[in-house]
Symmetry: C2
Subunit: 235 residues, 2 copies
DNA sequence: CTCTGTGAAGTCATTCACAGCG
DNA sequence: CGCTGTGAATGACTTCACAGAG
């Protein structure tokens, strides 16, 4: 175990590894080598080993990694053993969709509240989960009372910086931003921006050039989990 | 103008530059230097010049860039001068939210259809825009008839690969994926994955270490567009 | 003999720094 | 003079390749 600073690319991949391990665990697989893991999920085995190497020695030479053990290790590294409480600012379509997104709970995240400044919306409850819409002015108090430690920005771009400032004032250190805007934050606050516009426009660039090879894609590989028909309702 | 291959990081940034130029244009700014642009939007001036340099010489020495001109140039580079037609697979909460997202039109994207396999949903129309929910089985025909060239995957992870395969069979070359799954695609198909789980889990890692400096964040800088109070409804 | 863990090599991306255009 | 455009320098990330543990 060294004490270099870990790149965000590495932590992103750790999250992906964790997801793979969950799948393997559900399939009853007990152990797996970095190579087999890489092949099954379109990853690179050397990179898996290197990423893990930053945090310790989790493997067994000649064998590979024990799925359950590694799962717990990565869970701990990512801080997912402790629960996180999330609030979303902006009770529009996206905010409401996120508030009811079922995928968060596996990672130990719970959506606690939705904030908005629209009188019409405040006091309502949104979606199946009946998440309460609260006045954005009450944010500082609610953050404290509800022990919220992660905030999601789902407001229009032109108010995003202001909302971020309020969020930082409330003492939040981790923010997921969906507004298409370049935000500036204090150094001790981590803002991750998910920029749909940029993603789409980047796709458009790809479509605009009939270039031969799309280097960014992974090698083609048949998947192993061709399960039977199911509904597509969950998101 | 060279003919190197352009990194996705560069095209992502071009999209950001375009957004900044839109803001400047609306503010009536006629020209701007790379340095001023960088300062106003937390960017790096050398990088702006280098990114643009891959595509041509758009600046005027001693002056900077003409906002309207550069805007059009980047629009063309990203292929945003031609309209794109988008369909979304998965008429769940996220799919419905995306189908009615107003931010796409500025980039010349129009959401044409929603696909699902749930009998209950097929035939309905979703949101203010009344986007029709169609049977996913009709996808190949609809893609042709409606000239759809971009698809969005908003289905649960376990069916995402199968949906992607169908999408590729229908001849689509550009896909935006919201399912938390590692997908494999043909080399001539570009898949961009927006992974909420990974984004959140990476934030969790950041919270788990009380490290002094969050290197990934931009320098703190006061914003210049502190506009007056508005609603936060649009997403 | 298999597979990890890891320096060393290689590749790709960002930033510097300045010649030279307008 | 100010600013772009760009090689050259630096830095970051990935992949190779292998010593050595089990």
């Amino acid at each position: 175990m060294k004490s270099e600073k870990i790149s965000e690319l590495t932590t992103n991949r750790l999250s992906v590894y964790l997801r793979c391990l969950n799948t393997l665990s559900e399939a009853g697989i007990k152990s797996i080598s970095s190579q087999a893991l890489a092949e099954q999920f379109n990853l690179n085995s050397a990179q898996i080993r290197k990423d893990l190497g930053y945090f310790g020695e989790f493997g067994v030479r000649g064998v590979g990694y024990y799925v359950e053990d590694l799962r717990q290790q990565i869970t701990k590294i990512l801080g997912l053993d402790k629960p996180h409480r999330v609030a979303i600012v902006g009770a529009g379509r996206l905010g409401a969709a996120l508030a009811n997104y079922r995928g968060f709970s596996r990672s130990n995240f719970t959506v606690v509240a939705l904030f908005d400044n629209d009188e019409e919306k405040i006091g309502q409850r949104v979606g199946e989960d009946k998440v309460a819409v609260l006045d954005v002015k009450t944010m500082p108090n609610v953050v404290k009372k509800e022990s919220i430690d992660v905030m999601v920005i789902a407001v229009p771009a032109r108010v995003a910086q202001r909302v971020l400032n309020q969020i930082m004032s409330a003492g939040i250190k981790a923010v997921l931003n969906f507004a298409p805007a370049s935000l500036s934050a204090r150094l001790d606050v981590k803002v991750k921006t998910v920029d749909l516009t940029t993603s789409l426009e980047s796709l458009s660039y790809f479509l605009a050039r009939p270039s031969i090879s799309a280097v960014t894609n992974r090698r083609r590989k048949p998947q192993f989990d061709e399960v039977s028909e199911v509904n597509e309702q969950e998101l």
